[in-house]
């Protein structure tokens, strides 16, 4: 079997988010023993390292971490490669993730022993690495098996316990034109670390390019589904609280015992509380919708990817397993989204009910105020009428008194005989004018003093009448003497 050239035995993939650029560069530097990612890729004399860019700088700028993958082929975009002894390191880009591949090569006769040795080396490196880098999104180990390798041998080499072993015959088009098989051990560990084995004449080409793309989608879906599941506990608890509160509100009697402004204030407080709950549900709803949208898109991509790599007409166990698993997660997300919509509608209805209660209470308060206003207005009208009657009576009494005393005063000054010789109608006009002007003038004087203005025509007309009447009395007294 060995022909003198080392054969690829194990590939280990580190997945990081592209946005964690610093951690990615740190990981790359730690793995490659300080081979700078800024392009300083000169071989290190003591490690016998060689490195090369596989893509030309014109097409793919050196270490451009934003490099987009080839969407048509769905494979990784290789950015940089470094070989140190029998171990190769590749830095590749996927749509949202960067993948660092560590390929262990070994000249061997016993594949089992080669896997064992490579896996031991890998574990030693991992332990050392994880003291420096902790932003690794997920890891995958792929064992490269010869054509026709026994799956149970591979499982034994991995050394873990898996409930099931799934296999998917690969489309020769993605495995160097040769028949190949992808074997997967799902849920072997809970640390977001997966194991695969690729068997076939040319398993290496698929393991190096097609598998990271496929596995990154699975990892992403697993992470989103896990995150959603964690959030769902909180969301379900919040939704339960809102449903209970809304139920209690909707079954409470329409008009509460509290009345008046106290009752309105209580209801307005309930509206504020319901609005807060509505906002909470809206936020939860947004999170669930984002999660379900993300899962839906990725699940479609995953299904397309399995369709692309799977051998036509043969059973695809891995694709079927993940499609079923993530479809269930997606269904849960949709179900939660529907429940949230229902709770939001209930909260909205409760807000409307309480708002109606407030309006009813306010309408009642307004009607009572209107009734009171009308009563006050009626009382005021009666008082006004009575005051007017009193004013008229007082004015008449004042006129009579002034008339009497003016006449008597006039007789007293010029003599009774003189006054009695005057024509009665003339006396009546003169004394009546004086008395009337005095009575009316008093009223206008009061108004003038009240309004603080002397521009009252009535006052000045009264004063003029008084003066003219007095002058008439003087003139008449002189004329009849």
């Amino acid at each position: 079997m060995p022909n003198g050239n080392p054969t690829l035995t194990v590939i280990h993939y580190y997945f990081l988010l592209k946005s964690d650029e610093e951690d990615l560069l740190q990981l790359w530097s730690a793995l490659t023993g300080g081979a700078s990612v800024e392009g300083s890729l000169a071989p290190s004399p003591d490690t016998n390292a060689t490195s090369s860019f596989l893509a030309s700088e014109e097409i793919f700028p050196a270490l451009d971490l934003t490099a987009a993958p080839d969407e048509v082929s769905g494979q990784c975009q290789l950015v940089q490669r470094v070989d140190i002894g029998e171990t190769g390191f590749c830095l590749s880009m996927l749509p949202e993730m960067a993948v660092v591949e560590v390929a262990y090569r070994k000249q061997h006769e016993d594949m089992y022993a080669a896997w064992h040795e490579a896996l031991e080396t890998l574990e030693r490196n991992r332990t050392q690495l994880f003291t420096e880098v902790s932003a690794v999104f997920g890891e995958t180990t792929a064992l490269i098996a010869p054509d026709g390798a026994d799956v149970s041998d591979i499982a034994a080499a991995v050394g873990g316990q898996s409930d099931r072993i799934l296999s998917t015959p690969l489309n020769p088009g993605v495995a160097g034109g040769e028949p190949a098989m992808l074997v997967h051990f799902p849920d072997m560990t809970k640390n977001n670390r997966d194991y695969y084995a690729v068997s076939g004449m040319d398993a290496e080409s698929f393991a190096a390019t097609g598998l990271p793309r496929l596995d990154s989608l699975i990892k992403k879906l697993s992470r989103t589904a896990h995150y959603f599941e964690e959030q769902r506990l909180t969301i379900a608890s919040e939704r339960g609280d809102v449903d209970r509160e809304v139920g209690a509100l909707l079954h409470r009697k329409i008009i509460s015992d509290a009345s008046g402004s106290a009752g309105t204030a209580t209801l307005e407080e309930q509206i504020a509380n319901l609005s807060r709950m509505f906002g909470l549900l809206a936020t939860d709803s947004l999170l669930v919708r984002r999660s379900s949208d993300s899962m839906s898109r990725d699940l479609k991509s995953l299904d397309r990817e399995f369709e692309r790599i799977g051998s036509p007409g043969q059973r695809d166990e891995i694709g079927a397993y993940y499609s079923r698993r993530f479809s269930l997660d997606l269904a849960e997300a949709h179900s939660e989204s529907r429940d949230l919509d229902f709770s939001r509608q209930s909260a909205q209805a409760a807000i409307e009910v309480v708002r109606t209660q407030v309006e009813i209470m306010r309408a009642g308060e307004e009607a009572a105020i209107q009734r009171q206003s009308q009563e006050i207005l009626s009382s005021s009208l009666v008082l006004q009428q009575e005051r007017l009657a009193l004013q008229v009576a007082a004015g008449f009494v004042e006129f009579v008194l002034v008339f009497y005393y003016v006449l008597k005063s006039w007789e007293g000054i010029v003599g009774t005989d003189l006054v009695e010789h005057m024509a009665p109608l003339l006396r009546l006009v003169v004394v009546g004018s004086f008395s009337g002007a005095a009575a009316v003038g008093t009223h206008f004087l009061a108004l003038t003093l009240q309004n603080q203005t002397w521009k009252s025509k009535g006052l000045w007309l009264s004063v003029a009448t008084l003066v003219l009447s007095l002058a008439a009395m003087v003139m008449l007294s002189i004329a009849y003497q």
Partner: protein, 65 residues
């Protein structure tokens, strides 16, 4: 404040706490105190991992909006 920024700061806080407890472990004079600091540092590592997982999920979900 953006939740992603907030979580990144929280991760930094967790890392600082780990460093502090590790220093405490080194400075501890008796095994009991050393063990306590080790436990605390381990707890902070767990918190950091939890935050990182959630941050990564958030970034992935938001990255597609």
């Amino acid at each position: 404040m953006d939740v992603i920024k907030l979580m990144e700061e929280a991760i930094e806080d967790e890392r600082r706490a780990q460093e502090k407890y590790r220093q405490g472990t080194e400075a501890a004079e008796d095994p009991e105190t050393r063990s306590l600091f080790e436990q605390l540092a381990h707890m902070e590592v767990g918190h950091e991992r939890l935050l990182r997982e959630r941050l990564a999920a958030l970034k992935l979900i938001r990255g597609q909006q």
